[in-house]
Symmetry: C2
């Protein structure tokens, strides 16, 4: 067994201790004589697992009591539909979006199927999404049913390092790629959602945190798409993705042991600083994102000569540094530094980058 440093943007690296525990419990979860995968979701053993996962989300994120915590299926893409479907009572109501890349584009595209009045209040498209637009430059949105932001942009490597002020308009945050990586004031949001496969666990489960007064605006929705039904059944209207939630719970325990989100943030600041410093100091590499918008989670970087990309990737792989290829929208490389990526992995990457630049620069 030889583990690599996996810089995948998602599904992504998980804490080794989480995988080891899952491995140890695979055939017999805590004396039940069965795998978590084999358990009825209504069994006492499983009900304890999902209850603990919810309690840990509440504790780690400081979720106020007037918010529901849901474990949904369908990923962020499912939420692109559920948000407008649940929050708009009428197709003519305004839905406001800040456009910061591929994910907000998809979110708007799905919203347009539910809404005739999707409004882009700001966009960084003109500069290939290399920054988060300042709120001072946004169009007004006080008459919108909600305001949607993408808190971290995996592809373009940008991140909100601040919380938008939305007044009485419910703020909806897609935190798929930076949840639990830093403290968040949940009370500033109406809805927070996050596909699990970056900072929370395996793909197939989506965390949704929704303020209670936003439930039930619409009736007669499909049960799988109705926050109210899902909240009233505590994510158990039908069989939830039980094993994915179990792994998510193990990840939450690991985050707690790391000092919670404050502890994670300190590690994430150190990891990102190390990599950005290396990129900025070596003329061989460059980073396309504006400094104040740089993501701590996803770091795109460009080699001075595109023809070296394949060599970089193949040599990196030989050094057990994998999944570094950049997204085609940006090119070059991308290193994702989610919670579970240890500092040692970033140190190894930076050392390799220095060596590669020396040999090819």
């Amino acid at each position: 067994m030889s583990r690599v440093y996996n810089f995948s943007a998602g599904p992504a690296v998980l804490p080794l201790s989480v995988l080891e525990q899952a491995q140890a419990e695979m055939l017999d979860y805590q004396g039940t004589g069965m795998s978590v995968m084999e358990m009825s979701h209504r069994s006492a053993a499983y009900m304890a697992i999902i209850a603990e996962a919810e309690a840990l989300v509440r504790e780690l994120m400081g979720v106020p009591t007037n918010y529901k915590v849901l474990f949904q299926q369908g990923g962020a893409t499912g939420q692109f539909t559920m948000v407008p479907m649940n929050l708009l009572t009428d197709r003519s109501q305004k839905a406001a979006y800040v456009h910061t890349g591929s994910w907000s584009k998809k979110a708007m595209s799905e919203a347009k199927k539910q809404c005739d009045n999707v409004v882009m209040v700001a966009s960084s498209e003109a500069s290939n999404f290399n920054y988060i637009p300042d709120q001072g430059d946004w169009q007004p949105f006080a008459d919108a049913a909600y305001l949607h932001v993408t808190n971290n942009n995996t592809i373009f490597g940008t991140e909100y390092h601040w919380t938008p002020e939305s007044g009485d308009v419910p703020l909806v945050g897609d935190m798929s790629s930076n949840i639990l990586s830093r403290p968040v004031d949940v009370s500033k949001y109406g809805i927070i959602y996050a596909g699990a496969q970056k900072n929370l666990g395996p793909s197939g489960v989506t965390l949704v945190i929704v303020r209670e007064d936003l439930l039930g605006r619409r009736s007669n929705l499909p049960v799988m798409l109705d926050y109210k039904v899902q909240a009233e059944s505590e994510s158990m209207h039908n069989t939830p993705p039980t094993y994915a939630i179990y792994i998510l719970g193990l990840v939450l325990k690991w985050v707690k042991a790391q000092g919670g989100v404050a502890g994670m943030e300190a590690q994430n600041i150190a990891k990102a600083a190390l990599l950005y410093k290396a990129i900025d100091e070596m003329a061989f590499y460059s980073c396309p994102t504006q400094v104040e918008s740089r993501s701590r989670m996803n770091v795109p970087f460009i080699l001075s000569d595109d023809r070296l990309n394949e060599s970089f990737l193949s040599e990196a792989k030989k050094a057990d540094l994998v999944t570094l290829k950049g997204h085609r929208s940006v090119g070059g490389m991308r290193a994702s530094l989610y919670n579970a990526m240890p500092l040692a992995g970033v140190e190894a990457l930076v050392a390799f980058m220095g060596d590669f630049a020396k040999r090819h620069g």
Copy 2:
């Protein structure tokens, strides 16, 4: 480590060899240096996993080439919505359902949100769903957009041992609880769907087999709910539930090693016959379902004295026979005998039942 015989209706027992392989590969899948959970769904290693799973579904079920095989999220409940949403071009079109229990009731309830003309062509509700209505007694449905049946009823323990004749009307089969347990002529169906958590793998992934001419009847659907989008992207429009699909693939390989669906059917006939024979021969137990409709997968049985239910369950548990409590709609006990339940488990249950009846009868 001590394994039990787990008669859960779902999530349910998995083959021990599947769990052992998953355990062995947890930290390092075939030399990749990472868990399947940590892999990009676009990586070569993962693309091979999902492609093999699809190929095995096609091989084991004999899926004709004009059908797409999809891996979806949301369970059968999600399909209750997707079927009418995708197949009806107009709310006034007729959607025909055969009502054989809780699942068909839920399917109709979700269909009514998409359709003003949901028609029940037959129902066994008057006798608490203890049989499958003969097709000769059904109302006509030739003008329907589709006909929906629930091929196996987990709660009431009934199963179609025949394929409905639907003529030119697309037949939709919810095979969540008996897929891969017996040969099926896929060409008789327009759509087959099955939540994985009974015969296929863990919860969180749903197998959908859909005839190509049924794709694209509707446009502008939410991408997560659009069979056409899902088919064109080969279930990769967004991140699929990667680990659940991996386990499903291991289960498929195990089914193939058991002699495919024909081999599974032989085992399932033997297991079910053993248990029904025991129930029928001992006056202490009775089975509420009509003989010709009895499910091979889910066997409800009633004790002669309801006051002994708790003793039965607690003594069974001491004998490592667990999750036998019947659904409240039927009462008594229920033993689910899915593919992965070995004959030895049924033998142990029957021996325990005989012993219990002697001591308490």
